[in-house]
Symmetry: C2
Subunit: 400 residues, 2 copies
C-alpha cells in the first residue's frame, strides 16, 4: 500500500514534485544509489516557493513533529538560528548533507550527524510555525488570528505535550530521513531553542490526493475522505492560505493546529461493528457514508445518526467550515496499565482557526459519538509563515 500510494501520489502531483525532482536531479544533487533508475522514494519536494512545503504537498508516509521553546529573548539569536535552520533545511530536503560533507577538520564535530548519508530525499518537507508565546518572548506583534485555543469539553491536555514557541513538522517517506532532519535542527538550535516535546507518526491517516484510497486510522476506518486536495488551488486559497488580510509575513502561510488524540483502542475493539459504524457514519470495510455504497459517494447528513462523527464534522453541517488535514497514526508503546498508548496525531492547516478547527472541535466536543473512545491529550497552535525564497530565511519578513 505505501508503495502503491506513493506511485499514485506522484502521478497526482506531477506539478510540484515532478518539476522539482527534475531540476534537482539535473543539477546532480540527489544522492541516489541508482541514479539512472527513477526511484519514487528519492523524489525531492522543492523547498523554496510561494508557500512552505509540507502543507499542500501530497502527504508523505511518516512524520516527526517537534515543538521547541526559546532559551533566549534575543531577536538576533533567533534570527541567526532561523538562518542556519533554513540553510540546513534547503540542503536536507534535497538529500544533501549539511556542510556538504567537507568538515574543516576531523577534530571538529561533523556538520551533519550522518544517519541519512546515502538515503534518498524521500520527499522530505520541513515546515516551521511560530506559537503565541514566540511573539510574547520576542516582543513582536502577534497576529490577531493566533490565539491560544479555547478549552474544549473533555480535553485532558498534558502540558508536557502541549504548546511550544516554535514547531517543525518533518514529513518524509522514510522515517530515518524525518528523524534525521529534526535531530539536526535540534543540534543547530542548541543554546537558542530546545525541544519541548516531539511526536513520531508512523502512518499517514489523511491524503491530500483525492484519487488515492484514504488510509485507515487505528480504529480501522477511513476518516478524512473529503479532505482538501493539495491540487485544488481554489479551496486552498479559500480555506488554507492566508491572503490579503495578512499580516504581510503570513501571506501564503497558514495556521496549524496540532492535537495528540489518544484512542482507547481496547474499548473500541470490544464494541460491535454496528456501534463502530454508527459512531463514524460510514461502513468499516468500504468506508461508504451511510446511504452510499462507495467511499467517495456524497455524504447525506440525515442518513446518519445525529451524533455520527462524519455528520458533525461535515462542512455542510458547519456553514462550509473546511480544514486541510495531515494527521498521522502513532503508537508510543504502552501506558503502564496494559493499554497501548496509541491514537491520532491530528494536524490541520487553515486560513483562520476561528473558521476552521475551533468551530469543528466545538461541535465535536459537544456531541460526537466518538468522544467515548478518544481523548485529546496534547495541543498546539502555530502560525506558519509564507514560503521561503532563495536567499531568504524562515520568518524573515517577520523578524528582519
Amino acid at each position: 500500500m505505501p508503495d502503491l500510494s506513493r506511485r499514485r501520489l506522484l502521478t497526482g502531483a506531477g506539478l510540484a514534485v515532478g518539476a522539482g525532482a527534475a531540476a534537482v536531479a539535473g543539477a546532480g544533487l540527489v544522492r541516489q544509489p541508482e541514479p539512472a533508475r527513477p526511484d519514487p522514494a528519492g523524489v525531492v519536494v522543492p523547498f523554496y516557493g510561494p508557500h512552505q512545503a509540507g502543507i499542500a504537498t501530497p502527504v508523505q508516509d511518516r512524520l516527526h513533529f517537534a515543538a521547541f521553546d526559546l532559551s533566549t529573548d534575543s531577536r538576533e539569536e533567533v534570527v541567526a538560528m532561523l538562518k542556519a535552520w533554513t540553510a540546513a533545511a534547503a540542503r536536507m530536503t534535497a538529500a544533501q548533507e549539511i556542510g556538504g560533507g567537507a568538515t574543516g577538520t576531523e577534530l571538529a564535530p561533523p556538520d551533519d550527524t550522518g544517519e541519512a548519508i546515502g538515503l534518498p530525499a524521500s520527499r522530505l518537507t520541513l515546515t516551521v510555525g511560530f506559537g503565541p508565546s514566540f511573539f510574547d518572548k520576542l516582543k513582536l506583534p502577534r497576529p490577531d488570528l493566533l490565539k491560544e485555543l479555547p478549552h474544549f469539553p473533555a480535553d485532558k491536555l498534558d502540558p508536557a505535550r502541549s504548546g511550544g514557541d516554535l514547531c517543525v513538522q518533518a514529513c518524509a517517506d522514510d522515517p530515518q530521513v524525518a528523524v534525521h532532519a529534526v535531530r539536526n535542527l535540534v543540534r543547530i538550535g542548541f543554546g537558542t531553542a530546545s525541544i519541548r516535546w516531539s511526536q513520531l507518526g508512523f502512518g499517514k491517516t489523511s491524503s491530500t490526493t483525492p484519487d488515492a484510497q484514504t488510509p485507515r486510522n487505528l480504529m480501522g476506518f477511513k476518516d478524512g475522505t473529503n479532505n482538501i486536495a493539495g491540487t485544488d488551488g481554489r479551496k486552498l486559497d479559500e480555506h488554507v492560505w492566508v491572503g490579503a488580510e495578512g499580516p504581510e509575513w503570513m501571506r501564503g502561510g497558514s495556521y496549524l493546529v496540532a492535537r495528540r488524540i489518544r484512542m482507547h483502542v481496547e474499548t473500541w475493539d470490544r464494541s460491535s461493528l454496528k456501534e463502530q459504524e454508527d459512531v463514524f457514519g460510514r461502513t468499516k470495510r468500504e468506508g461508504a457514508p451511510y446511504g452510499g455504497a462507495r467511499e467517495h459517494d456524497p455524504v447525506v447528513l440525515d442518513k446518519m445518526p445525529v451524533d455520527a462523527h462524519v455528520r458533525l464534522a461535515n462542512p455542510a453541517a458547519l456553514s462550509g467550515v473546511t480544514i486541510l488535514r495531515r494527521g498521522y497514526s502513532f503508537t508510543d508503546g504502552s501506558d503502564g496499565l496494559g493499554r497501548l498508548d496509541a491514537g491520532l496525531f491530528f494536524l490541520a492547516y487553515q486560513r483562520d482557526p476561528e473558521k476552521g478547527f475551533i468551530p469543528i472541535q466545538r461541535a465535536l466536543a459537544a456531541k460526537d459519538a466518538l468522544n467515548e473512545y478518544i481523548q485529546h491529550v496534547g495541543s498546539g497552535i502555530f502560525a506558519c509563515p509564507g514560503g521561503v525564497r532563495p536567499g531568504s530565511f524562515w520568518g524573515e519578513t517577520l523578524l528582519a
Copy 2:
C-alpha cells in the same frame, strides 16, 4: 534506500521468501491492489517451517515489539490463547483478515480491528518467546540456558521496560501492518495476558543479507557489518539454532536478548569526527574498519584503539562468540529535559546466551569507549521455541 534494500533482500532471499510468496499467491490469498504486478512490499514470508520466521528472515524495515505478562496461572487458558494467537498469526502474515472478514453479526465486535485491510503482507513475521517467569508461573521446567541476565556495569534498567512472561516480535516493511498484528494479539489475549511494555522501531540497523549496505544507526555509523547472514546455514546451526542439546521443544528455536539502549545523541553530536571514529574503530562515511578502505574489509584488531566498540565486540576477540542481530532505531519523543529519547532497540538471537550476548556485553560493559554515549535502560530474555507446523501452535511441544 528502503526500496532499494527491499529489492536486494528479496533477491538474496529467494529461498525462503520467494517460494512462500509463490505458493500463497497461487492460492489467491495475497490481498494486493495490483496482483498482476509483483510488489515486493506484498511478499508473504511463510509462517510455518522448521524455525520461527523473523529470526533468519531478511530484516524488515519496521518493528513493533511487545512484552506481555500472564494474568493467569492456568496452563489451559494459556494454551487456548496460544492456539488463537497462532491461528491469527498464520492469517495476518498471509495478509488475510482474522476471521476471514465474515463476522457472524454486526452486533458482535469485528474479528479483526481492520486497520490493515487492503494492505499487502509487507513481509510480516511474528515471533514468540517465553521469559523465565513464564515457566515459574505455569510450573513448567525452565530450560537451563534461560536465566535472568546478570547485572552489567552501568545498566540502568527501568522495570517498566524490562522483563515479561512472553514476547512477540512483529517485523514488517509497513509499520501499520506490524502495529496491527501486535494490537490484535493483545486483543485476543485479553483476560489471559496483558501488555507489559512495547517498543516501536522505525528503522532497521542490522542486515542479515550480506550483499546489502549495512543501515546506519542513529550515531550515523554502520554497526553490525559482520552480522550472521540469514542464508548461512552453517553459522545459523552453530550459533543461532538450538540443536540436540534441547530441550526438545527448543530444537530449531533460539534465545532472544532484547535491550533498549538509549543514546545520548546530543553529547555524541558535539564530539569530534575523530572521537566518533575512534569509538567505533570504523570510518563514519564509508564504514571501513581502521586499516581498511571499504566497509566489508576485514577487521584487523590491532589497527584499532583498544577500547573501540568493533574491536571489543569482534568474534576474534571473544573466542568466536557470535550472535545474530536484528536491532532497530527508535525515537520516542523527548525526555522532558530537551533531549530526544532515541537509541537502539537491540535484538540478538543465539543458541546459548552464555556463549552469545553475555560474554559480549561483559566485554563491552567493562571498557567499550561507546559507554560514554549510551545507556542500557530496558532488558529482556526469552526462549523462542522451534518453528510451527500446520495444525500445531506456538509452544505446543512445551505445553501440550
